[in-house]
Amino acid sequence: MTVTQAPKIVTSRMGYDDSHTLERYLATGGYEALKKALSMNPEAVHDEVTASNLLGRGGAGFEAGRKWSMLRPNPVRYLVVNGDESEPATFKDRELIERDPHQLVEGVLIAAYSLQVTQAFIYIRGEFALGIERVTQAVNEAYSHGACGNNIFGSGFSVDLVVHPGAGAYICGEETALIESLEGKRGFPRIKPPFFPAAIGLYGEPTIVNNVETMSNLPWIVLNGGEAFAALGEGRSTGTRIFALSGHVNQPGTYEVEMAKPTFRDIIFDPSLGGGVRLGRDVKAFIPGGVSAPWFGPEHLDLRLDQDEVGKAGSMLGSGSIVVMDSATCPVRAAWRIARFFKRESCGQCTPCREGSGWVDKTMRRIEEGAGREEDLDLLLDICDNIAPGLTWPPAQTTICVLGPSIPSSVVWAIRMFRDEFLVHIKDGACPYA
């Protein structure tokens, strides 16, 4: 077991009932990092972030410092924070938004200063009513505390921060769809190139889009230095990260652990973390990083929570959410439910995604309900091959965004891992678990 005693970087205040208040935030070192950042040059703050090697926590895991250096020089530029968290089984940003909104706001202000943006927006998923209230409150308080607005803390730096609510659409988590949504339009992803936000983003101006957890790490990095952050973890996977653990474990929840040190087995079984599988059952399969990720089986339990190690093994740490399925889980039903999600959330711009997700949903449902045919398995693989040719990981992309290529992850891997169980559904004309 390598569950280390690493510091809690983003969840340090979670033990307090009033963790969301300005009083608690100030009493626990709040806004000191912003003051320190304002005393440095913007590029020196950027250097610390680069030295930390902080990987974006939104799913793609791109180095934040490197992304920042790609911001196209331009008189007008924006920072947009992605708080749309809607990847199924991902629930760490909601916790940061609701329970430590000032930490998020401080992180955003530090980034805004380093990037010298014209204005910053925090886009929060519409369903997070409490989160929107908490962050709006925090922003109001930041203004009256002098941390936001005109001439912040007397530094000569000024910036406005706006909280923007979403209205219910998973696809708006994709950064270019989020920008469209923030412009008051339907959340249709834009094609990249040319629409890389750092070049052509909000209102056509260069824009940095970063995740809520990514931003929440910045106060600690500024106070303790990028090197201290990089000393945690291993290789490219530095610092700590929040993993959201759900499904058939005894203690589901969010756990901030050092990157690259614990394994999936640790996080699922350690008594201080997941506490094992319910009813002492075995792990049948688990999803390592959100429902867009290919499934893993028990043979993968000893992989470390390291972005590159998981990538090499054929899946991804993605959004940091781990779903455990025990031995009594019907894999057909689980994969079908994920397929149905993609069908509902496809924005419909690309044929492979729009049509493919509908076919996969329909065919999977037919099998689960006992009305499937043996040819359906080949049909499913064929449809998925049309969505992401080759059915490899990472997937080939024939669509505007990567929602489409994520559709095969559950279905194809479930068929590969549990083909015999699919066949039982078909032969018996019923779900054996029903």
Binding site: N41, P42, E43, P75, E87, P88, A89, T90, F91, D93, Q116, T118, Q119, R125, G126, E127, F128, A129, L130, I132, E133, R134, T136, V139, N140, Y143, C148, G149, N150, G156, F157, S158, D160, V162, V163, H164, P165, G166, A167, G168, Y170, S181, L182, E183, G184, K185, R186, G187, Y203, A244, S246, P252, G253, S321, V323, R333, A334, I338, F341, E345
Partner: protein, 212 residues
């Protein structure tokens, strides 16, 4: 005669003022209209269109993309049951079936007393306490059939009225002011900062060249 109340019209104008382009306020204004009327009415869409400078069809077309914007009236309480993967593994479909029976309505329908609209939704990001339910987007977690029935009773009797505002009210906390930094001032500050940065860079390069 506009559709927004004078108070809401003032809020709408304040919201528009915090964005570089008025159209960005479209979705926030749809939420505002929902908080006023409980749903997004045709009249509200016409006024929003005028306020943000697009056609009513564009407001309707945009709103129809988003699950939370309801262009038809819904019940006083929008009860959303998540059936996505973590909730499904914890019995969400059984809960949904129970809810359908005990309320006598299917997903998307409203009870005859107008109190409750039931809907099945995707993950609401509370998966560690599955199955998850939200009422007007306020969360109730670890719900089983018994606690679900109790919750419905309590909603009808008004027991939760302090935590659960009426449908459409998104945030009970409002932004306390408009933009604090005039746009010209930001532009000036940024130009000065960019210049200072370029000078620092040139100086550092010159110093580096000297050393060589």
């Amino acid at each position: 005669m506009g559709h927004f109340t004078p108070e809401n019209l003032a809020k709408a104008k304040n919201t528009i003022s915090v964005y570089p382009q008025a159209r960005s306020a479209l979705i926030p204004l749809c939420h505002l209209a929902q908080s006023q009327d409980g749903y997004l009415s045709e009249e509200a869409m016409v006024e929003i269109a005028e306020l943000v400078g697009v056609s009513p069809a564009e407001v309707r077309g945009t709103a129809s993309f988003y699950d939370m914007l309801h262009t038809e009236p819904v019940g006083k309480h929008l009860v959303s049951i998540c059936t996505n993967i973590a909730c499904m593994l914890a019995g969400a479909y059984e809960l949904l079936e129970h809810a359908t029976e005990s309320l006598g309505v299917h997903s998307g329908q409203t009870t005859s007393d107008g109190e409750i609209t039931l809907e099945e939704v995707e993950c609401i990001a509370a998966c560690d306490r599955a199955p998850c339910v939200s009422v007007n987007h306020r969360f109730f977690l670890d719900v089983d059939p018994d606690t679900f029935d109790q919750l419905m009773t309590d909603l009808r009797s008004g027991k939760h009225s302090s935590e659960v505002p009426s449908h459409g009210t998104l945030s009970r906390v409002e932004r306390s002011l408009g933009l604090a930094v005039p746009r010209e001032q930001v532009a000036e500050e940024r130009a000065a900062a960019d210049k200072a940065r370029a000078e620092r860079k040139a100086k550092a390069e010159a110093a580096g060249a000297d050393k060589k």
